[in-house]
Symmetry: C2
DNA sequence: CGGCTGGTTGATTGGTTTCAACAAGCGTGG
DNA sequence: CCACGCTTGTTGAAACCAATCAACCAGCCG
């Protein structure tokens, strides 16, 4: 998977050849992050836009007494907000859940990029709006879905997002995070996530084994979860569009 | 309260005199919305940026079976995203919780505004980033705070935000929404909100009567809620800065 | 006055957490 | 190579928080 960023951005609008070239240029320098280490910490001054190229990361907040809430998951192609560097202080931390490969785009570089290409600026804005929509949907998930619906919804969302960057193969995708991470993302305990997983398996809806997730009946799963992909704002439906898999 | 938008924006960066004039111009046309009516519905094409000038509104999503989740509250000065018009379809609805006065800025007007004033563009971007942070904090609230902490946290947040636009008077502010609305915002039932409110009252922390909220001990309330206003990203601390009250 | 909305209370049910223990998988070092 | 320790997943029982259901009250308005 050569360039997940461009791969993802094109779902928010067509990329010009010049845009692709410029993007490829800016992504030159890469950084490797070990699993379970912070990419940026709460309170830090964000000077660059981090773009995940490989692996999964998450934004999280930790309360004084240790409670952790994962507020979003960052998959390959996801960036932590194209305009973060305008703030002086991170209000949350970002942590690698698996080994992660990052590209970092410094603020000024980003500003030059969007100044040169109004099209890229437009696409980045739409990406920001889509991220906001995902964040809202997480609030819906936490606020008014039951345990099994939450988990099902997360599976649907992540599968769709992974599919958009060519990281699914039929009904299967990598799913490299622990039940503990799932618990912290869904506002539940890992014990309960474990039992809910078993319910989903027993219903014949999914298989989750050795970090591989398979959706056996995506439609029924979506119905159970009340999942409607509209909020992802992809211009093309990534699942139905049949993206060629390049590994 | 003459111009809550400018009042709010200045917390994200200084406004130039020219900015204020241009803003005042674009806010010329106003719209009155009755309580309990949708300002924009899910599925609609957002052609303008709605700015709340008076009253409270909310973004919400409603599931097929009737469950409603309020995903954010819009107070005077809040806009529903300076760049919404770039999307073709609302993924959620916005509803007036009280009678609301709106200004509507059409997409092209907004684009001209930010093109003319890089400073305004910067300030709007920071506002967008702050809204995203609030949205994340709501996920934290729903995901890992207890009933009483959630309610306390919401009170702290709303009081701080109202204070930023001069809508507090000492420790008191208007609080015009029902326990049912609170329930839908906090992912609980109105019955439980009611009992939690009584706990907060019994602890001597708040008074909430006839749509007026008073915080008797803001610090203790903040501690109970694990409330840290940093995520609001105000350049000046609105509470401590002692904003002059203009009614 | 009647009807409506919003708030309050009690009893019961049920979904989740908590606590505790154990099994399975995996990398490491003796 | 196996033993060891660590992380991750799994299971059971008890405690608890919050939902549900139902009834009732207070205020407001036509």
């Amino acid at each position: 998977m050569p360039d997940p960023l461009a791969r993802k951005l094109q779902h928010y609008g067509p990329l010009l050849d010049a845009d692709r070239l410029w993007l490829a240029d800016t992504l030159g320098v890469r950084r490797q992050i070990a699993a379970r280490t912070d990419i940026i910490m709460e309170g830090e001054d964000p000077r660059a836009v981090n773009v995940v190229l490989e692996g999964w990361a998450c934004r999280y907040r930790q309360l004084a007494d240790g409670r952790r809430q994962i507020v979003s998951l960052l998959l390959p192609g996801d960036s932590c907000d194209p305009h973060v560097f305008l703030l002086d202080r991170m209000d949350h931390a970002i942590c690698a859940l698996t080994p992660v490969t990052l590209a970092q785009i410094r603020g000024p570089v980003m500003q030059e990029l969007t100044a040169r290409s109004p099209n890229l600026d437009y696409v980045f804005h739409r990406e920001t709006l889509a991220s906001a929509a995902i964040q809202r949907e997480w609030a819906v998930n936490l606020g008014c879905r039951t345990g099994i619906e939450r988990l099902a919804h997360l599976f649907c969302e992540l599968f769709t997002r992974l599919s958009a960057v060519g990281l699914t193969k039929g009904d299967t995708c990598a799913f490299p995070i622990t039940q503990n991470d799932l618990a912290d993302a869904l506002g539940q305990t890992s014990v309960h996530i474990n039992r809910t997983l078993q319910d989903l398996r027993a219903a014949g809806l999914i298989t989750l084994r050795s970090r591989q997730l398979t959706l056996h009946d995506p439609e029924r799963l979506a119905r159970l979860a009340h999942f409607d992909p509209a909020y992802l704002h992809f211009t093309v439906e990534p699942i139905d569009a049949g993206n060629p898999i390049r590994e």
